[in-house]
């Protein structure tokens, strides 16, 4: 037999090699780890746990002979995927991260009641997790999620751009904020403020600055319509005077960060946790010049009424049809521990534990932790969860956009919000 004949690639050799290769690849992970926990989350949940040498779960993985495989998606697709997975006969995802404005009486039934797990094998110092957040994930008496992340909105500002326009510090009142934004835009170097038009967070913050709200926790729509009208008037005024960019109506949440990093806007409203990306010299030439403070209330806001910022919380859930619920609970326990909550906070995650904000390790490294803690004390969700919440938000945003662009008067928009959204609220 010649050398060429011995090594000729024929169909049998190719198929045999391919099958052996695939079998080896399939067996590979089995040699490395006994179990794999599949987690459905946002990318930020994965990165806050650290990666590589800084992996906070390394010891837990070794102890449980398990690996964690994250599938990450953006917020809305993530929620859709989680509910779809939970609706199947069985899902490979044993842990899913859920935002607090999505659970309803209907979809909560798709998830395990974690109270039984907590009673049997408790999370360390569970009472330290903010009770309001735990309450938000308790639907019809069932605890469906363990809070793990808070995203509290703060007012970010670029000191250099403020100084350039002659301001020595951030605005203390909403009226001052508007005037600063107008002046900065007029200067021409940057836009006064960048806001996204696809999230209710921003008009809600402005309404709260006047003591109003969009939907209160007891499902009252526009508890103070006059406050919402004032908020829309301010936003429309800012747009007409150039304090908001002409692209306002198509600006999306994820673009705000880029605008701030590039110095295209002096002010924005973002979660405190975004500071990491705004203080990194590799990401922005304004690192160290971008600061964050509490969003100011209006001068007309009663002295005894605190400005309530918007906070969004994420929680870890176990789908009722998950394949490995015990391992999932073990993961949730580990991630929720005091040590890991602090570790995640140091990586930029907004902690769900009250004590973490006061931890010296965090306060020594994060200049803004105490401000976040103060803002969080008065913060609440943009709106409570209910079945038609997403549709209601869309209608609300449509009316807000029409007003800001000057196509509808604030009074007409408020009337339209009331007539269009009221039928969607729970009876």
């Amino acid at each position: 037999m010649s050398y060429e004949t011995a090594f000729r690639l024929n169909r049998r050799t190719f198929l045999g090699g391919a099958v052996s290769g695939l079998a080896l690849m399939a067996a590979g992970p089995a040699f490395a780890q006994g179990k794999t926990l599949q987690v459905l989350s946002h990318r930020v949940h994965q990165t806050s746990l650290g990666e590589g040498d800084a992996d906070m779960l390394a010891a837990w993985k070794a102890e449980n002979n398990a690996d964690v495989m994250f599938t990450t998606l953006d917020s809305n697709p993530l929620m859709d995927r989680l509910f779809r997975e939970a609706s199947l006969a069985q899902t490979d995802f044993s842990v899913g991260y859920m935002v607090d404005n999505r659970p309803t009486s209907e979809n909560a039934t798709l998830f395990e009641d974690l109270r039984a797990y907590q009673d049997a094998d408790p999370i360390e110092d569970f009472d330290d997790i903010a009770p309001g957040l735990v309450q938000g994930m308790t639907i019809d008496g069932r605890l469906i999620g363990i809070p793990v992340r808070t995203a509290t909105q703060g007012l970010f500002y670029n000191e250099e751009l403020l100084a350039d326009a002659g301001f020595d510090g951030p605005a203390k009142t909403l009226e001052e904020l508007v005037e600063q934004c107008v002046a900065i835009s007029a200067k021409g170097r940057a836009t006064g403020m960048i806001l996204a038009s696809d999230l209710a967070v921003f008009p809600v913050m402005f309404a709260r600055a006047f003591g109003g709200d969009y939907i209160s926790q007891d499902f009252t729509l526009l508890p103070d319509p006059a406050a919402m009208e004032k908020a829309l008037t301010v936003l429309a005024d800012m747009f007409s005077r150039g304090a908001l960019p002409r692209s306002y109506a198509t600006n999306k949440g994820e673009e705000l960060l880029t605008w701030m990093q590039q110095g295209r806007a002096a002010y924005s409203v973002l979660p405190f946790a975004r500071m990491g990306q705004l203080a990194d010299p590799a990401l922005t030439e304004y690192a160290g010049k971008i600061k964050v403070t509490a969003f100011p209330g209006s001068e007309t806001l009663a002295a005894d009424t605190a400005m309530s910022s918007v906070v969004e919380a994420w929680a870890m859930t176990i789908p009722a049809n998950a394949v490995d619920k015990e391992l999932a609970w073990s993961y949730i326990k580990e991630v929720s521990s005091r040590k890991n909550t602090l570790g995640m906070a140091l990586n930029g995650n907004g902690p769900a534990r009250v004590s973490t904000f006061l931890d010296p390790e965090l306060t020594s490294k994060n200049d803004f932790a105490h401000i976040e803690s103060e803002v969080l004390a008065n913060a609440r969700g943009a709106f409570p969860p209910f079945g038609e919440a997403a549709r209601a938000q869309q209608l609300f945003l449509e009316e807000v956009q029409l007003t800001v662009l000057g196509r509808k008067s604030p009074a007409d928009a408020v009337a339209a919000i009331q007539s269009r959204i009221q039928p969607l609220l729970p009876a």
């Binding site: 859709d80 209907e106 869309q394 029409l402």
Partner: protein, 290 residues
Amino acid sequence: MKTSSLWRMMPLLAPTQLLLISVIVIPSIYVVWLSFHASTYGQAATFVGIENYIRVLGDPGFHSALWNTVVLVVVAVHLELLIALGMALLFNSGLWGRRFLLVAVLAPYAVSEVVAVAMWRFLFDQGVGPITVLLNALGLPALEWSYEPSHAMIMIAVLTIWMHLPFTFVILYAARLALPSDLYEAARIDGATRLQSFRRVTMPLLGPAILVALLFRYIFAFRMFSEVWLLTGGGPARTTEVVAVYLYQEAFTYSAFGPASATAWIMVAVSMLLASGYILLLRRQVKNAA
């Protein structure tokens, strides 16, 4: 065909038929079923009759989305056809650097839709977009696509034409290349001008190809989604929303699967209605050719 030979062929045809049944027929039937039910996550589907259809057809948001879709389809598809026809004739006339230009014309079809829209968003960014800056430098008004709905519609139409022009162009160019040159020679000998040759020879013979291109583009364009979703998200204030975006919102933002399914079937009906004239013409041509 004899019944016995049909039975012998069945095992050979079965895999394809099974594939079509499993990925098209069964899901379609399921969507029909769903369109008559109220269904969301964590809730058993309940029969509601034609309520979903009434709700969708009575929704002003749907009317606006349907109108935007029809306007975009009619304008973009016909403009695209005119441009593609002109380019096909230009390429056929012996254009210099044809090979290179052919690659340039076909390139948009090789670009991912997401990348293409991101690129256009940057080019026409109202603050720092190179084209906006250029227009301003020339003293020309910029396209305010995120503020003015009509500008946004123009932007979407231009983008969709740019993205899909290669498809129409390839069909028409291939059809033009297939036309025998002796017909043009005969026309020239008979004293026909270039315009007369175009009207009397090129257009009638390109007719079937034009119809096929129009039909496909009508159907594709009616499903237009990524251009609108990624560029304007249906804004400002839902003024550029198209039917596919409306459907997406119902299904994946509001988790209202009944109205979403009803919208899907209304989309099928309207796109068939829009394309029906061309389908009849095509059918007549096929009959005449037989």
